[in-house]
């Protein structure tokens, strides 16, 4: 999968906005949206929220988990644990990036939030690398990874599977004599 495809899937997440226009309920294939009344918060998918913000028709509210203390606690928890801890949202990285790029004036202390989320991401990717390394070294057959988000899987996934394929080919080519002898008719 492409990183852009993962971001596209992330844009379906719901965020809260405060519109400054009014519109009746709209019925789309994916679900209903609205009604929009100026000054009243409403939940919409991220793609619509970003579009409305760019056209200056709404104000974005940060999601609940995008708060300095909560993120600090999560980051410290992540650093202490050996395995992966649950993340506030299955698309936390994409949400952070999109919201902070387009609406950083609506989110207080945007710079610290960006740093905290990046810290969490770095810790998790480091853990992923360590576990992939031990997986390959000990030639284990399967590994269990809880609480990984799709973006993290996608970052390391393609390379890991292709590398394992290569190694399998190399390994099987090392033992040609034994394999011909053990054939049964």
């Amino acid at each position: 999968m492409d990183a852009a495809e993962v971001e596209f899937l992330a844009e379906k997440e719901l965020v809260t906005i405060i519109p400054n226009f009014s519109l009746d309920k709209i019925y789309l294939i994916g679900g209903d949206l609205g009604p929009f009344n100026p000054g009243l918060p409403v939940e919409v998918p991220l793609w619509l929220a970003i579009n409305l913000k760019q056209r200056q028709k709404c104000r974005l509210l940060p999601p609940e988990w995008m708060d300095i203390e909560k993120l600090e606690k999560m980051r410290d928890h992540e650093r202490k644990e050996e395995t992966f801890t649950p993340m506030p949202s299955p698309y936390y990285m994409e949400l952070t990036k999109l919201l902070l790029n387009h609406a950083s004036d609506n989110i207080p202390k945007a710079d610290e939030i960006r740093t905290l989320v990046k810290d969490m991401w770095d810790t998790r990717i480091a853990k992923l690398r360590v576990s992939a390394d031990s997986f390959v070294r000990q030639q284990e057959a399967h590994a269990k990874l809880d609480n990984l988000t799709l973006m993290e899987i996608n970052t390391s996934g393609t390379f890991l599977t292709q590398a394992l394929n290569h190694m399998y080919k190399l390994r099987t080519n090392l033992q040609p004599l034994e394999s011909t002898q053990s054939q049964d008719f």
Partner: protein
Amino acid sequence: MFVSDFRKEFYEVVQSQRVLLFVASDVDALCACKILQALFQCDHVQYTLVPVSGWQELETAFLEHKEQFHYFILINCGANVDLLDILQPDEDTIFFVCDTHRPVNVINVYNDTQVLFVLCPQTLCTFYCHRPKLTSSNREIVEQTMRRRQRREWEARRRDILFDYEQYEYHGTSSAMVMFELAWMLSKDLNDMLWWAIVGLTDQWVQDKITQMKYVTDVGVLQRHVSRHNHRNEDEENTLSVDCTRISFEYDLRLVLYQHWSLHDSLCNTSYTAARFKLWSVHGQKRLQEFLADMGLPLKQVKQKFQAMDISLKENLREMIEESANKFGMKDMRVQTFSIHFGFKHKFLASDVVFATMSLMESPEKDGSGTDHFIQALDSLSRSNLDKLYHGLELAKKQLRATQQTIASCLCTNLVISQGPFLYCSLMEGTPDVMLFSRPASLSLLSKHLLKSFVCSTKNRRCKLLPLVMAAPLSVEHGTVTVVGIPPETDMSVLGRGKAAESTSSRMLHNHFDLSVIELKAEDRSKFLDALISLLS
């Protein structure tokens, strides 16, 4: 007709249609265009942008597009001549004109349907007072002769009033500020748009198009908007991200580009200081060194790039320079202005951006079509194109240096001659950097600075009251020159139309939107000057 409600009568009409934008080639028009473009993008309005630098281009573009569009918006062009006469549009075409040129042509104003002016409401009052009243009377034979006499008197009075009204040219509120008001009414105003409005106003001040009083009033208006948008910077709890634009009000030095140049270069190339110190003479250079010594700034530090100067020297720089400048007779060293800040590195004063954009637009390099420069200058105003802005700053430095060198050479070789009612100066073709001055804005700026320097250099009291006429070669193949008329320092009015040229039937072209700039064939120069002398004396 004047539009009283911007939103209903202008924006909502235009919102659902395809419009054509004619934008003149000056920085104020660029800023107004940027604001309007941002509003159009919010509402998905289809528009076509056509940059024009003169009446000929406007007419050709209009003829090309008049079949496809019914609504035209003209920015900084079209107020001071009879639009319908020049363009000959169809019955249902509507023009919205947002122009700073005054006086507004009378025929345009009294056209109720086709020409609508999008202007600041203050201009309305002063205009309506000029309309003379026609008294009504009964239909008796005795009264008829009275009526005829009254009518003749009325017509004579009307002619006088119109002559007074159209005699001098001046400028009104910046178009960028008018567009920002529109955005504010629609509640779509952003910090970025506010910055463009500030740049538009500063452009008017840099080119001396408005009086100091008007500039200060408009700065006050904009300052209210600035504090409304930027008050969150002082709040510790909810500080904004570093990437967000921040605009702040500054009472900063008048030195051109000083934060992007060295202090010494900036002092030498700002016309205010160069004229007061008389830097074209050896005596002037010595005075400059005295000035620097008085402040205790070592020459080596001052000649270094400003950002590399010692922090201890930079701390109280503004106050030190103001104090020393007062001692040397320069009272207005500091001026009220605004600065913008984003990221960790980028800080610009409004005048820096004005000079950068102006140089980009008027750079003499011939690449591609004539609109390339316009588009480049337009792009440099967005935050994402900072490399163009820096390129513009470099070009501006070259332009300023060339201006000062030309002024110095003109004064040293006594090229400014008094022709009786005015002063005259002409740049020869072989002068270095003369191609930089073929465009009207650069030439106007050069002429204004030359006049100020000349006034400082002579002891002749009378020179302070004389206007200056300046000529520079425009195109070698056609043998044309651009001629610019600049008013004297004390009086804001400008020479009216070049009636002299018409009377001598010299081949001239009144191409620019500013009525004080014309193009002339080189051979007809002397005829034109003679006629101008006789007209003004």
